[in-house]
């Protein structure tokens, strides 16, 4: 990131351990104003810990977090003005929806507390924003999961936060509601322009929703970039692996290129052994006369627009799964047990460990 980029939240050299477990290991990250940032990684990668550290809910062992350039150490949660949406929403069950949303305003010190009427009108505004008009007098237990999620969001927005943090915002919802809410959240972000960070372990969710994605692993940041950057140029084998079905070949680099699955792929690596990752849909399947690596079709699955084909490749013990359109190049159906030729359309090459 160039020096001129403005920074809403700066994280530098953050480390935190739970007992012997390093949850955060020297993490640095700059969050730009107004962006929608995803923290993506498998469970235990430290993404939730990082989110909680930014919110001030966890105090890291070392490192600095700054808001608008000012060190946030010593800032109370009240002064951080962070809107946090918890994974299970953490709604106050003994309060109505409206009381939940207005909570952050009602607990302000007297001189900064809005009048009752002002709170009520702000709550009504927020209810409209999250499309829950008329449900203000319900209790959380009387709402669906998706509705509760939106109440939690409205409650976090009520304090006019400088940043919105969401912990696995769609984790507790079923697939259909999840998809709808994702679109809706994207729209809401556009509308409010609020700097937003959300945690997820679902790569599809991160790639679809976020302006930039931070990929974490074992308490470290593996790569930061736009979804396209990360997808097209994964920085590490882990990122490559995590972002989609990839299979791995041992290859040899010679003169700036390596031969992967019947194709010559350019690389900046020096001569020597290397690892090549090829994604399932970066493999072309051709009739046996073509150039490439011969492989036998073991099985095929799927009935939609694309098929998953399982090939046995010489030299690989496990079968390789290839995603391709339903009909092959020759316009014929695939035949299980027949031989085909595979070619890599693209591959990512990393130094051998």
């Amino acid at each position: 990131m160039s020096k001129s980029e403005p920074v809403a939240i700066g994280v530098s050299n953050l480390s935190h351990t739970f007992g012997d477990f390093p949850a955060l290991n020297n993490v640095s990250l700059d969050v730009r104003p107004g962006e929608l940032l995803a923290l993506l990684g498998p469970s235990g990668s430290g993404k939730t810990t990082l989110l909680r550290a930014i919110a001030g809910l966890a105090r890291p062992d070392s490192g600095v977090i700054s808001f608008q350039g000012a060190d946030a150490e010593g800032l109370s949660l009240r002064d951080r003005r962070v809107g946090f949406v918890f994974q299970q929403y953490a709604l106050f069950r003994h309060m109505t929806v409206a009381d939940n949303i207005g909570f952050g305003l009602r607990v302000r010190p007297r001189r900064r507390r809005p009048t009752r009427a002002a709170i009520a009108s702000r709550v009504a505004e927020l209810l409209a924003l999250v499309q829950l008009d008329g449900l203000g007098s319900r209790f959380p237990d009387q709402l669906s999961g998706g509705q509760r999620q939106r109440v939690a969001l409205a409650r976090a927005l009520a304090i006019e936060p400088q940043v919105l943090l969401l912990d696995e915002p769609f984790g507790a919802l079923d697939a259909k509601v999840r998809k709808e809410l994702r679109q809706w959240l994207r729209g809401l972000h556009k509308e409010t322009g609020l700097t937003t960070i959300f945690v997820t372990h679902d790569q599809e969710e991160a790639m679809e929703l976020a302006d930039r994605v931070v990929i974490m692993r074992e308490g470290r940041v593996e790569q930061v970039g736009t979804p396209a950057e990360i997808y097209d140029a994964p920085a590490t084998p882990f990122v490559c692996d995590f972002l989609g079905h990839a299979f791995r070949f041992s290859v040899a680099v010679q003169g700036g290129s390596a031969r992967v699955l019947g194709a010559d792929v350019a690389t900046k690596l020096a001569d020597g052994p290397a690892l090549a990752y090829v994604r399932s849909h970066d493999v072309a399947v051709a009739p046996v006369e073509a150039n490439g690596v011969a492989a036998r079709l073991l099985a095929l699955r799927g009935s939609g627009a694309s098929l998953a084909l399982e090939f046995a490749l010489p030299g690989l013990s496990a079968p390789v799964e290839v995603l391709c359109p339903r009909v092959n190049v020759a316009g014929e159906d695939f035949v299980v047990g027949a031989d085909y030729v595979l070619t890599a359309r693209a591959a990512h090459i990393f130094p051998a460990p």
Partner: protein
């Protein structure tokens, strides 16, 4: 992963203040009364303590207390098993009402628990004339003490077993029956092992109360030395006679019983986990 939070705790000062307050309260209200029993009992030395315990009246009181609990506890054990089988394993109309009725003795003053038996079996009671004519004595005699004890300890076993057996459902019993086991064998081999910790627990609490009951027994006993005095009643008599060492000596045995009960209870809670509850 549970992540330690810096915002849901109190400052160390407040924390230690609260812990200190709680411990002082408990020391004053729970520990001191326990200690004073043993200190007063041993005030005139071990010799006087033992002499008080082997006195004829004291021994008679111990025998009666053991006898009463030897009748009341098994009676409520059997009742608890029978009642929880019918209430927990079957759904029928009036089930919750029946549970409420079984719980009544817990919410009635012990004195009233004794009174009701006097009203039934006392000389002026409902069955008084009949009992006198048959020369059967219940009130101011051992049967009355046993009845009153059964009444006050009535819910202990059942209320431990019913919620547990309800939660366990009937799947395992149905499986055993479908495999050809008889009803009784199913109960012994499937149901009983599943409820054994809760059963021990209920019996333990039932026994503690049976041996320690004072109010109800006091009403029906008649306080005849050597005949209808249980240990708790004996404590009162000695106290009223200003025989403090003997009173506290007898009380110390009951306090030991309470400590053993608490120890076993803690052990069972650790063993039985969530199966047992207060």
């Amino acid at each position: 992963m549970r992540i330690a939070s810096s915002v849901t705790g109190e400052s160390a000062l407040v924390k230690y203040l609260l812990i200190g307050l709680a411990l002082i309260w408990l020391a004053g209200f729970l520990l001191l009364p326990l200690i004073v029993v043993f200190v007063e009992a041993l005030r005139q030395g071990v010799g006087a303590y033992l002499t008080a315990l082997v006195h004829d009246d004291a021994l008679a009181a111990m025998r009666l207390t053991l006898l009463v609990s030897a009748i009341a506890v098994p009676a409520n054990l059997v009742f608890g098993l029978v009642a929880s089988w019918s209430i927990a394993k079957f759904r029928f109309r009036g089930r919750n009402f029946l549970i409420t009725i079984i719980d009544i003795p817990f919410s009635v003053s012990p004195v009233i628990s004794g009174l009701v038996f006097v009203l039934l079996f006392g000389a002026q009671g409902v069955f008084g004339a009949f009992l006198v004519s048959q020369k059967i004595q219940i009130i101011f005699a051992v049967p009355g003490i046993v009845l009153a004890t059964i009444f006050v300890t009535f819910p202990f076993v059942a209320r431990q077993l019913i919620p547990l057996m309800q939660a366990q459902g009937i799947d395992e019993e149905e499986a055993a029956l479908s495999l050809g086991a008889s009803g009784f064998r199913t109960f012994c081999l499937v149901t009983l092992p599943n409820i054994k910790w809760a059963l021990f627990y209920g019996v333990l609490l039932c026994n503690a109360r049976a041996m320690g009951e004072f109010g109800a027994v006091s009403v029906v006993s008649g306080h005849i030395r050597g005949l209808t005095n249980t240990m708790p009643l004996h404590v009162e008599i000695l106290y009223n006679e200003y025989n403090f060492v003997a009173a506290f000596a007898t009380a110390s045995l009951l306090a030991l019983l309470a400590l053993v009960t608490l120890g076993l209870k803690t052990l069972l809670e650790r063993r039985g986990g969530r199966d047992v509850k207060i």
